[in-house]
């Protein structure tokens, strides 16, 4: 799942990005408001983690511009400003959640996970489909009680398909959610990862759940 992190304090941004990456997210990061806006125009993100006190362009302004053309991307505001008026203003501008600095990294990850799920209309942390259980909190997958050992990338694809279950997800979308802006990976990697996932699911005695839609992409469903 791909996130955009906009935070001007370098050291803080790097720690936050590192933590989120370790939690399985793909993170584009910037410390500049204008650059943040450019990222938002060029890419699609599941969640934007946004600091309000930014150089060159205020975070609220950026949020406001985002909301004029995109009402779906979840925004988590992370700021040192905690007065009631400022919180209310942030939420009115279209923030989905508000977190005051300093915060625990664990809380940051938990809130991002909740927003990610919510952006796909899913409220429980565990998603079950055809005997396959995907726990988005623990980042684990299992066939009933039997755990399925997955790499971070494999889990990310499975999570994305599960969050968009019964919807066709294009290869480009998967690729975009897996890799950050600076990565120059081969797009064939998606097909390789899907093939590996199918194999592991078959080994776990699960029915065929990942189906290919020629020319469109992949779908996670119990029916082909």
């Amino acid at each position: 799942m791909k996130l955009l992190l906009v935070e001007d304090k370098d050291i803080l941004r790097k720690t936050m990005a590192e933590t989120l990456r370790k939690s399985g997210y793909t993170v584009d990061e910037t410390g500049d408001g204008n650059e943040g806006l450019w990222f938002l125009r060029e890419n699609k993100y599941a969640v934007v983690v946004l600091d309000l006190g930014l150089p060159s362009r205020d975070g609220l302004e950026l949020l406001s511009e985002l909301r004029t053309r995109d009402k779906e991307t979840s925004v988590l505001v992370v700021t040192a400003r905690d007065s009631i008026d400022e919180k209310v203003q942030g939420l009115r501008e279209g923030a989905d959640d508000y977190m005051v600095k300093p915060f625990a990294l664990e809380e940051l990850v938990a809130r991002v996970q909740v927003l990610t799920r919510r952006s796909f209309g899913i409220h429980k942390s565990a998603i079950e489909i055809g005997g396959l259980v995907i726990d988005t909190l623990k980042r684990t997958a299992s066939a009933g009680e039997t755990p399925i050992k997955l790499t971070a990338m494999e889990f990310s694809i499975l999570e994305l398909l599960a969050l968009k279950r019964r919807q066709v997800v294009s290869r480009a979308d998967i690729w975009e959610q897996l890799y950050d802006f600076d990565t120059d990976a081969d797009s064939n990697v998606v097909e390789v990862l899907i093939a590996r996932l199918r194999k592991k699911m078959t080994e776990a005695n699960l029915p065929k759940l990942i189906h290919t839609r020629r020319g469109s992409g992949y779908i996670l469903d119990t029916e082909s």
Binding site: L12, T15, A80, D82, S83, P102
Partner: protein, 487 residues
């Protein structure tokens, strides 16, 4: 004078009073003048008759008898039963000489005032036969002497008083009717003028009402300008000045908010860096145990700093009134338990016994944000300063007015004279030694309780500390200005 609070009532009252005085006095004066004129006219007629009697009266020289030389028709006309005149002739000593037939021999009595000198004419009211009221005119004169049918041209020595009276029922009725007409006209005029004045007042004060409504609708912390359009000239300078003050206050408040916001940013961002860095280090599975311990200690210190910064920022904002707190219905008992949740682990780690007495906790209309700040500091204080295995008692009650919240904890070494210092701002609280265990509670920056006391005053209450008989410290919040919804 009744104390009317609104301008409209005051103006209406003043108008009523002015109308009552002006119309009342005006009516009385008109009535008095017209009545006097009518009476004068009436008396004038009587005086003419009196002069006629005087001119026809004479004394016979041969007999000394007082007689009247009047035509018979005149005589009868004067005593016409349809519109009779009553008259009588008396000697100056009151002895009757002659009286008209219609006086039925009883004469005119209680005449006052009577003339006291020759030629003087007096007027007054008199009771006539049949119980009617009449007016009389009287005068004193010396009739001429008549000798052998001829007036001699000499006055007699007999002083005669002639009195003429006439029924004055018409006069009193006219006066009474005039009074009634004036009263009715006065009342109608009063009502009309009052109505017009009321409408004019309402219309005239409408801009003031609109301005009042605008001011009333402006909540604390809002600095919207008031509209000047259609305001009367008298109010324009007031509103212009008010708008200037609002603008200045708004600018000041905005600057203060920005300043506090920037301070918060400058203080919290480095804290966030510290915390995330330390947590990031702790996430390393290969971290040596000794290093992990040091990092945890550093994280603990960062936490203390975090709370101190938070309390300082709250205190700054509350002192300057930078936040607008909305009141909500708060079930205090449930809320007090919920606010304890973050302290559960620390209380368990110290083996604290926590007693809850919340059955009589009230439901209040107050800001949950403020109540949370207050409780958090009281709880934090209780957990920090209660010795291990000590007791913390948390009570919310409405049994005795006003509603109160109490947090009591065992605390060794606290003296009565030190209690007030607990609420001093940035007072460096001394290290406290537990006499039982010998453990020393580290010194802390005492800002939390100062903040709690400030919050208590905003909530309309007072936060006090006292020592109980069992040497426990009791923090009591009494919400004197906050009425509970129920028990």
């Amino acid at each position: 004078m009744p104390s009317f609070r609104s301008l409209k009532s005051r103006i209406a009252w003043a108008t009523c009073l002015a109308l009552f005085v002006v119309l009342g006095l005006g009516g009385i004066v008109i009535h008095s003048v017209v009545t006097r004129r009518l009476r004068n006219q009436f008396d004038h007629g009587l005086a003419d008759k009196l002069r006629y009697f005087e001119a026809t009266c004479f004394v016979k020289s041969s007999t000394g008898i007082v007689a009247l030389g009047m035509l018979n028709d005149d005589w009868e006309a004067l005593q016409d039963p349809a519109d009779p005149d009553y008259f009588q002739f008396d000697h100056a000593n009151g002895k009757s000489i002659y009286q008209s037939r219609n006086l039925l021999g009883k004469g005119l009595h209680s005449l006052a005032p009577l003339p006291s000198a020759v030629g003087e004419t007096t007027h007054g009211f008199v009771d006539l036969p049949g119980g009617r009221t009449g007016r009389f005119t009287a005068t004193l004169f010396y009739p001429p002497i008549k000798d052998r049918g001829q007036l001699s041209g000499e006055k007699s020595s007999t002083l005669v008083r002639v009195t003429v009276a006439h029924d004055a029922t018409m006069l009193t009725a006219a006066s009474s009717e005039l009074g009634t007409v004036l009263g009715v006209v006065g009342c109608v005029m009063g009502l009309v003028i009052l109505g017009v004045a009321w409408v004019a007042t309402r219309t005239g004060l409408r801009p003031l009402d609109a301005l009042g409504a605008q001011i009333d609708a402006t909540s604390v912390g809002e600095f919207e300008k008031f509209t000047i359009d259609r305001l009367p000239n008298e109010l324009v300078p007031v509103v212009t000045r008010l708008n200037a003050l609002m603008e200045r206050s708004g600018t000041t408040l905005r600057h203060e908010r920005e300043f506090t916001s920037n301070v918060a940013h400058e203080l919290r961002t480095p804290l966030a860096v510290m915390r995330t860095q330390l947590e990031s280090i702790l996430r390393n599975d290969n971290l040596p145990f000794a290093s992990e311990e040091k990092v945890r200690e550093a994280l603990g210190t960062e936490g203390e700093l975090e709370r101190a910064v938070e309390n300082l920022l709250w205190l700054a904002r509350l002192d300057r009134g930078l936040d607008n707190f909305q009141s909500e219905t708060v079930e205090v008992g449930r809320f007090m338990r919920k606010c304890w949740t973050p302290f559960l682990d620390a209380a368990d780690a110290k083996g604290l016994q926590v007693e809850w007495n919340l059955r009589k906790a009230p439901t209040l209309a107050c800001s949950p944000d403020l109540l949370r700040i207050l409780l958090r500091n009281l709880y934090e204080n209780a957990v920090a300063y209660t010795p291990s295995s000590g007791r913390v008692s948390i009570t919310g009650t409405n049994s005795g007015e006003p509603p109160s919240i109490c947090v009591t904890n065992t605390c060794s070494g606290m003296r009565k004279q030190d209690l007030d210092a607990l609420f001093a701002r940035a007072d460096r609280r001394p290290s406290m030694e537990n006499v039982d265990t010998g453990l020393v509670q580290p010194a802390r920056l005492g800002i939390g309780l100062a903040l709690s006391r400030r919050v208590a005053s905003i909530l309309g209450g007072e936060l006090t500390a006292s020592l109980t008989a069992t040497n426990q410290v009791e923090f009591r919040l009494q919400l004197t200005q906050n009425q509970p919804f129920n028990n």
